[in-house]
């Protein structure tokens, strides 16, 4: 009996993993733990790493046989003919080769992509056509775009950085900051860039057969990438057409499969520009979003509920030393201000460690921005070097300033009132991991 029950449960679990609603609390908990474990195991293995490992593992080529010149010409002609037959308009070739080249065409570790995409709904899509203009930095997990409806009206400006989404809506003069696209009511499909999703799929999923086709009058390849799960468990399969010469994507069709139905096109993304550019040549504000003064900013938890500070607890110095990732401080005294309270601040899904030095506050935090720093989300006012790192200076919603520096495993920010601006600058250069001295 128990065995039959388990079989039925296993089938229900399979349905739930395909996007269905888990019918019992036990299954819901199992889906949750499986998804969390899978997320831990879903490491990015860059294509460059695979190519490097392949070069290292590839056996030495066998010594070539000598071919006489006449014979070489004949071999070349036959080879070319065979290649034409294989790559002709109705032929097919190994998907993996085209896939690897298509991935390489999207640039290397030092490159970013400038893109223009026209997005139109398919039969399964329930939205209006729009155009996205923006930048993608795959290596650093960043993307930013402006979305315009027909007539050029700006619908939203979105920045995604390491999964964290900041979206400004000019119509309502509001902005939302979320730790993941899963927190947005509109879901992940609206908060990921199609080329970024395509690139990720190329690094992880094997395409089916590649078909040689003609697209917009030019030779192209078309292949299908298997279903890929977005962060909110939405699933898309992609049919991609790439230019045969540049191997850059020309069209990406997102297909969704609803239970018991055939896959249907949800969106057709025509890429009218995909320009690989060295990162240093991208505009300084390419990955920012300007939040005009007075913008109402709401931060969401992973569940989609707003974030608020839910508790503050004092820490001893030895407790602060035990926090991982290690936190930064300014030493026991800075600018005649002794280290005051060290506090663990809880807010929504996140925590921060806050250290007080008179008018200065030092915030150490992870993916979720502490609410008092929310006004700082947006394009940096100024960037300046600190040692080997870059600090970003922002204006906070309350009129003070914040200087933010990335640290291993998170971010550290210094906030101050206007009168404390000068110490904040020099403080940024004195940040270092907390020690007992």
């Amino acid at each position: 009996m128990r065995r039959d029950d388990d079989r039925a449960l296993a089938r229900m679990l399979a349905d739930a993993l395909d996007g269905g609603e888990p019918p019992t609390d036990e299954l819901r908990a199992i889906v949750q733990v499986l998804e969390a474990a899978a997320a831990e195991a879903r490491l990015d293995v860059p294509a460059e790493e695979t190519e490097q490992a392949l070069r290292a593992a590839r056996p030495e080529p066998r010594a070539r046989r000598l071919i006489r010149p006449a014979a070489a010409v004949a071999v070349a002609v036959v080879s070319a003919a065979a290649a034409l037959l294989l790559a002709g308009p109705f032929g097919s070739g190994p998907a993996a080769d085209v896939q690897a080249q298509a991935l390489a065409a999207l640039g290397g570790r030092g490159d970013v992509l400038e893109v223009v995409e026209r997005i139109t709904p398919g039969p399964a899509g329930g939205f209006t056509p729009s155009t996205r203009t923006g930048w993608i930095d795959p290596t650093r997990g960043r993307a930013a775009w402006v979305q315009r409806a027909a007539g050029g009206v700006v619908v939203d400006r979105t920045v995604v950085e390491h999964g964290r989404v900041t979206r400004y809506d000019p119509a309502t003069h509001t902005a939302v900051v979320a730790p993941s696209c899963a927190a947005l009511a509109t879901g992940c499909a609206t908060a990921v860039d199609p080329i970024a999703v395509y690139r990720r799929a190329l690094t992880r999923l094997a395409a089916t057969e590649t078909e040689a086709v003609t697209f917009r009058g030019r030779p192209a390849y078309r292949f299908a990438l298997p279903i890929q799960r977005l962060a909110d468990a939405a699933r898309v399969a992609q049919v991609v057409t790439v230019d045969a010469r540049t191997l850059l994507p020309e069209r990406i069709e997102w297909r969704v499969r609803r239970r018991g139905r055939r896959p249907q096109a949800a969106a057709v993304i025509d890429i009218t520009k995909a320009l690989v550019t060295p990162r240093e040549l991208a505009p300084q504000d390419a990955f920012g979003v300007v939040l005009p003064p007075g913008t109402a900013v709401t931060e969401l938890r992973a569940t989609g509920r707003p974030v608020a500070i839910s508790g503050v607890r004092r820490l001893t110095l030895s407790q602060a030393l035990g926090v991982r990732p290690a936190i930064d401080w300014l030493g026991p005294v800075f600018a005649h201000h002794r280290l005051g309270a060290i506090e663990l601040v809880r807010f929504g899904d996140g925590t921060a460690v806050r250290l007080r030095y008179g008018p200065l506050l030092v915030w150490n935090y992870g993916a979720v921005i502490p609410p008092p720093l929310l006004g700082t989300a947006g394009v940096p006012v100024k960037q300046f070097p600190i040692g080997s790192r870059t600090a970003r200076l922002y204006q906070t919603a309350s009129g003070g300033i914040a200087i933010e520096v990335d640290r291993p495993g998170g971010t550290v920010a210094i906030t101050s009132t206007r009168s404390g601006q000068a110490p904040a600058f020099s403080a940024a250069g004195r940040l270092r991991p907390v020690t007992t001295r």
Binding site: D6, R7, L9, A10, R11, L13, A14, L17, A29, I30, V31, Q32, V33, L34, E35, A36, A37, A38, E40, A41, R42, L43, V45, E49, T50, E51, A53, L54, A56, A57, R58, P59, P94, A96, D97, Q99, A100, T203, R204, L205, A206, P226, I227, R229, L315, Q319, A320, L321, G322, V323, R324, P325, L344, R346, D349, G350, T351, A352, V353, G366
Partner: protein
């Protein structure tokens, strides 16, 4: 018909080392990283797996399963050998869990650490089913082909794995992963 397609792919991968490598290297690294708990060691062992594939894949016979199934079996065996060899050496206790006592940021580290450990201790067939279905996103029909089992059996493996992960986490006092 599906078998013909499967066999054609098997033959191609068997003789095209570069294509085999490019198609499956990343997923073998991810699988090994979960089994070994080390990204660097996983990359090393994955290279050994593919060197073995270069030596032996051309001699494999088609038995209705893709070359990928063979790659996973070799990877699982190599991972088991490494874990077994490691258990005979003294290793310092991981510092993260001990040091992380000062709040939720630390608690997140503990939870993630516990998840990784729980995943690494799953029985090999449970871990492979979870990896193929949830990490790589293969449909259960493909999971069944790679594992050489029925779809129902693979669904059962994932159910059991989910229960084991839950129990392992609850045993450490963690009731709801973030």
């Amino acid at each position: 018909m599906a078998d013909d397609v499967g066999e054609a792919r098997f033959r191609r991968e068997q003789h095209d080392f570069d294509a085999l490598f490019r198609a499956h290297h990343a997923e073998i690294v991810r699988y090994l990283a979960a089994r070994l708990g080390s990204r660097e060691e996983a990359a090393d062992v994955a290279s050994e797996v593919f060197i073995e594939a270069w030596r032996r894949a051309p001699g494999l016979r088609w038995r209705g399963r893709p070359v990928l199934a063979w790659l996973y079996r070799v990877a699982a065996n190599m991972a088991a050998d490494r874990v077994s060899a490691r258990s005979r050496e003294p290793v310092p206790a991981p510092a993260a869990a001990e040091a992380a006592t000062a709040g939720d940021e630390a608690a997140t580290v503990i939870e993630r650490d516990a998840l990784r450990r729980a995943l690494a201790t799953l029985p090999p067939d449970h871990a492979l089913a979870v990896h193929l279905r949830l990490v790589e996103g293969y449909p259960f029909a493909d999971v069944a082909r790679v594992m050489g089992r029925s779809v129902g059996a693979c669904q059962m493996l994932v159910l059991r794995a989910g229960r084991e992960l839950r129990e392992a986490l609850e045993g450490e006092g963690i009731h709801a992963p973030r």
